[in-house]
Subunit: 639 residues, 2 copies
């Protein structure tokens, strides 16, 4: 299948990635940005390749920035040919080739700085993580350009890793502290058909959490004493999801990005092997994350310490970590879950994360980024309090640890891969994004075009193009946020109720060229409430319309947003918000607000004060902090 | 004047201090407690005295534990003679005498461990802080027993300090990082009449915050590089309230206990010198603390980092530090403010702190202690989250840094000093505590007895005993929480309105033996609301009756207390709570609670759920966590 996005909402963002993020990141990788700590990432490769002399600088995982950039470039080239960009990428690939050692090893930190420490600290040193990103870039670049060079580089390194790791006496029986290679090897297996990459991925997954712990063994070999600093909080190895064998894990723990990457690999492995126990583990973890540990924005990670999950129903809005990368990882995972199970909850979560906690990570111009995407910000508090220092009141230009912006670039640039799935005679539509897909049914090429103003418009129209009539099934996700969805085929109503299964409506018929399907997804504004165990949101509502979660900003509603309350029967209305961004819809309502000017000096008082009527305005969460910075609030008091 | 407490509520607590806390602490000081890290405090003195050999152990301020214990013992001996206890104290005083150096110096850390580092790090090393506690103990012990030995020891040390510090070329022109000596020297001046102690206290206050900063100078002399870790958060020297000269300070900043001790000294100095500029600085700081930075429990310090104030209206209930010692310091300060200004706000704040944020620091048996007194606790969260690790879900037996329990002991044991003030022909009643005061008017001894069931009962009865009729003024505080207070003298109503000034009603008359005054202070349950700038309490109320702030506990109301909401017109009723503690009154009301069992699995949902009616029960905040531990909440959602 081949998918091309033709969508007002998303093409704007893909263009931003293409025109802003990728060129900007290229400058960053080459240390040409003023006022930004030099990345040294390309330089590290040049030193490793012998092109110049010098010392390794940057994080132990600095290489991955280059890999993620290459991967994002590949996705852009896939649907937007660009000779100059491809040439630049090819130069980088040549550089990687020169840096790669004869035995296939490729990690500049260990080539340049500590050659004798290769594979000596899998827990902390990210070698296999960087290798995973190399593989993902290679797979993407091969699919986009048909060029094998990077794929060959990554295969050589994967083969080297396959030599080094395993259960033989001369092999290392360990696994990485930061997961990534597991999911990457599965993609390499898909692309090359080489079973040993599947098996190596399975090895890393299966070894995890076995006792005695590999991390203890390697630590002992390094001669390091005592437990890790965080053992008390994360219990042993929970930080790396290595506290239990993966099939016994039922609750999301530890570093949220690592968790997402591991669950992604688990789901992909389960889909590929149809192993029931692994499938069940995926379902258990999915349920835990999405029903007990996920913010309404699709944000994950409720504490800064360890950038980690804390525990069930602990989702404070002002202390959260909710790293952009974790929400991106959630989309990876949902995408793999759909390979083993068709259920609208995966698409629902995917769009929840995409339209909210992921898009919020970037400003509307693609020049500034949030790593932490909080649901409540009081700028004075995050500036003055040490326990909130990880929350930034405004997006930042670029960080020394540049994980989120490149991750944003690669997910947005590859969004065409998340919209559809095609099996033998079924085409599944998971996301409503204007696009065109070409696929084969019974040897015949079929084109399905999707037109929509989603996420603002309530209509999605499909048209089928094919030469010969053909029977196949079109399966459309009906999101949980809508009721009274309606479906027409060639103008005639089709009952959704009769053909819906786990949130997908299945239209099985013989299609003719020009057949039209109209899906209507009413977008009533929803007053969302939280599970009563989620103490932080008691008595509060969040506004959602379609997949878009809304928030209040100080610029529209004045300071101290907590003083705004909505009556439970308040009528909410939608209005155009073109001054914020194209096509954006804002929500307005008559509300009440306590006015500090009525109050006087006392801090506490038994006197009752009248509240002032105000017209409250809520904007899409992802657009916040694109005008004058200030307070922001997702969960609004309800009276 | 001489005051004896005869009060059901407080005598119980004073007895606990006498029978439990002081003996327990004595065991602690002598390292005889199982399962508690040895204090080594007495041993340090024995080593310094040459009684035994060994090394100094403990905090740099370990000596102060001994001083605080001696001070508390003195207060107990004042109203409860106890030969054995006095003998023990005398032995300790002998030990101190042996440990004191020939030049008067007395600090075991520097005598035993680092003699060459005396006075080299005033910012961090607490020498003057320990000296202050020695002086306070000495003053108290002299007043209680008439014995001069400890007073002489402390005068010798104070004289030594007076030699070392000053503006002469051979003197150190510095001041302590942890204030305490300033207020202690003023007490020593009061007791001895020696003006040089007043002047030395003023020197320390006046030097503070002068530029160039003394802390920079001494740091340079020690050869230490760079700024302190916390400079970014506290700005330079705010942590020690040394960022500005004291008269220019208008906002409470930094470590809250240090702040309280300094403001106490400032107010006492202003009262003694009648310096207007200093008085104004005290008023400015008082207003800032009590109208912008104080919890409703009288708790101070809204962040763990630096155990410090954060900024105006930032009072999160689950992240606060609210150290017992800080609330105790607030009472010290209020007590000194009353020396320079008669206004009910000082007594109001004093009782707010005493009956809530201070008493909560100790369990009802006097065996376990909170250092941090939060206003909202979810035990799972404080156990699992690093940013809440300073909040303990239950009181702890004794800490290695034993600041709060000894401070609790000394404030409770000395409470008789906080109830009254007597000036030439006026007697002020600041606190309503059953007691008897003897004082002189025109050379004649007058006894005023106070009888009350405060804080539960609404009546306070006074009786005057004197031989000859005498004209004087009885001034009674009318707390801000009452309305319709009523006053009778010998059964006849007296208008409060006509003779009230800044919250004190002044009864000026010629008193005869047996005259009776009846004060009626109606204790309607108050639904307290917070200033709208205090975002954390928006839409919430706290219950208060008389001076007592109430809270909800899980044991009475089930888990997830945030799900309870009170309608704004709900009737609240008072009931006896004798199963919690003697005489305690609890508050009950019909309320609503969201029931998780109605909810299902979804974390977020637009469906509306019925709430369940419940009978909500609130208990006095200070009694919380004396039954089964669990969640606790002060600020309740209001619908």
């Amino acid at each position: 299948m081949k998918v091309k996005i033709k969508d007002t909402f998303w093409n704007e963002r893909i263009d931003i990635v293409r025109k802003e993020v990728i060129p900007y990141q290229w400058e960053a990788l080459n240390d040409r940005l003023p006022d930004v700590e030099p990345s040294h990432a390309i330089k590290n490769f040049r030193i490793a390749a012998g092109d110049e002399s010098g010392e390794f600088k940057g994080m132990v995982f600095q290489d991955s920035d280059v890999m993620k950039w290459l991967e994002a470039v590949a996705y852009i080239l896939e649907h937007h040919p660009d000779e100059e960009l491809e040439e630049t990428a090819d130069t980088v690939i040549d550089l990687l080739q020169r840096a790669q050692q004869d035995d296939g090893y490729l990690d500049t930190y260990f080539i340049v700085k500590e050659p004798e420490m290769k594979w000596k600290n899998l827990r902390d040193w990210h070698e296999l993580y960087c290798a995973g990103h190399l593989i993902e870039a290679a797979v993407a670049y091969f699919h986009a350009t048909g060029k094998r060079k990077l794929l060959d580089i990554s295969c050589r390194f994967a083969d080297k890793i396959d030599d080094v790791f395993g259960t033989e006496a001369n092999q290392i029986q360990g696994y990485p502290g930061h997961q990534e290679i597991e999911l990457a090897l599965l993609r390499l297996y898909e692309t090359t058909g080489e079973e040993r990459y599947l098996n190596l991925s399975r090895f890393f997954l299966d070894e995890r959490g076995k006792e005695p712990h590999y991390f203890d063994k390697e630590k002992e070999e390094r001669g390091e004493p005592g437990p890790a600093d965080w053992d008390g909080y994360f219990k042993r190895y929970s930080y790396q999801q290595a506290h239990l064998p993966i099939r016994n894990q039922t609750e999301a723990v530890g570093h949220s990005v690592r968790a997402m990457y591991m669950y992604t690999a688990m789901a992909d492995m389960a889909a590929k092997t149809e192993e029931k126990e692994l499938e069940q583990a995926c379902h258990n973890l999915w349920k835990n994350v999405t029903t007990k540990q996920m913010y309404i924005t699709g944000g994950l990670g409720s504490q800064e310490f360890g950038e980690s999950f804390s525990f069930d129903y602990d989702l404070p809005n002002d202390l959260c970590y909710t790293e952009t990368c974790a929400s991106i990882g959630l989309v990876f995972w949902a995408n793999r879950m759909l390979k083993m199970d068709i259920n609208h909850q995966y698409g629902d979560v995917m769009e929840r994360a995409l339209y909210n906690g992921i898009l919020s990570g970037m400003d509307l111009d693609g020049r500034k980024f949030f790593y932490v995407n909080p649901l409540e910000v009081w700028p004075e508090a995050v500036q003055a309090r040490k326990d909130k220092e990880h929350v930034k009141p405004v997006r930042q230009p670029w960080y020394a640890c540049a994980c989120c912006p490149p991750n944003l670039a690669r997910i947005i640039a590859s969004l065409n891969h998340y919209i559809y799935n095609v099996s033998e005679n079924e085409v599944f539509v998971h996301l409503y994004i204007g696009s065109e897909i070409d696929f084969e049914v019974a040897g015949q090429n079929v084109t399905l075009s999707q037109q929509t103003n989603y996420p603002w418009g309530e209509n999605v129209n499909f048209e089928v193009s094919l030469k010969e009539k053909e029977r196949f099934t079109l399966a459309l996700r009906i999101p949980a946020w809508t009721s009274d969805a309606a479906l027409k085929v060639n103008g005639e109503s089709v009952s959704i109720e009769k053909s819906i299964e786990k949130g997908y409506v299945y239209v099985n018929r013989t299609w003719s060229d020009g057949d039209k399907v109209e899906l209507y997804l009413p977008m009533e504004i929803q007053k969302m409430r939280s599970h009563p165990n989620l103490r932080h949101n008691a008595g509060k509502i969040a506004l959602q319309r379609g997949p878009i979660v809304y928030c209040l900003e100080e610029i529209d509603n004045g300071p101290a947003l907590q003083n705004i309350s909505l009556k439970h029967n308040t009528k909410l209305r939608v209005e155009p918000g073109n001054d914020i961004a194209n096509d954006v819809l804002v929500i307005k309502a008559e509300a009440e607000k306590t006015d500090p000017s009525d109050w006087g000096d006392e801090l506490y008082s038994a006197a009752t004060r009248e509240k002032q009527p105000i017209t409250m305005m809520a904007v899409p969460y992802y657009t916040w902090c694109n005008r004058d910075p200030g307070e922001m609030l997702v969960w609004i008091n309800e009276k």
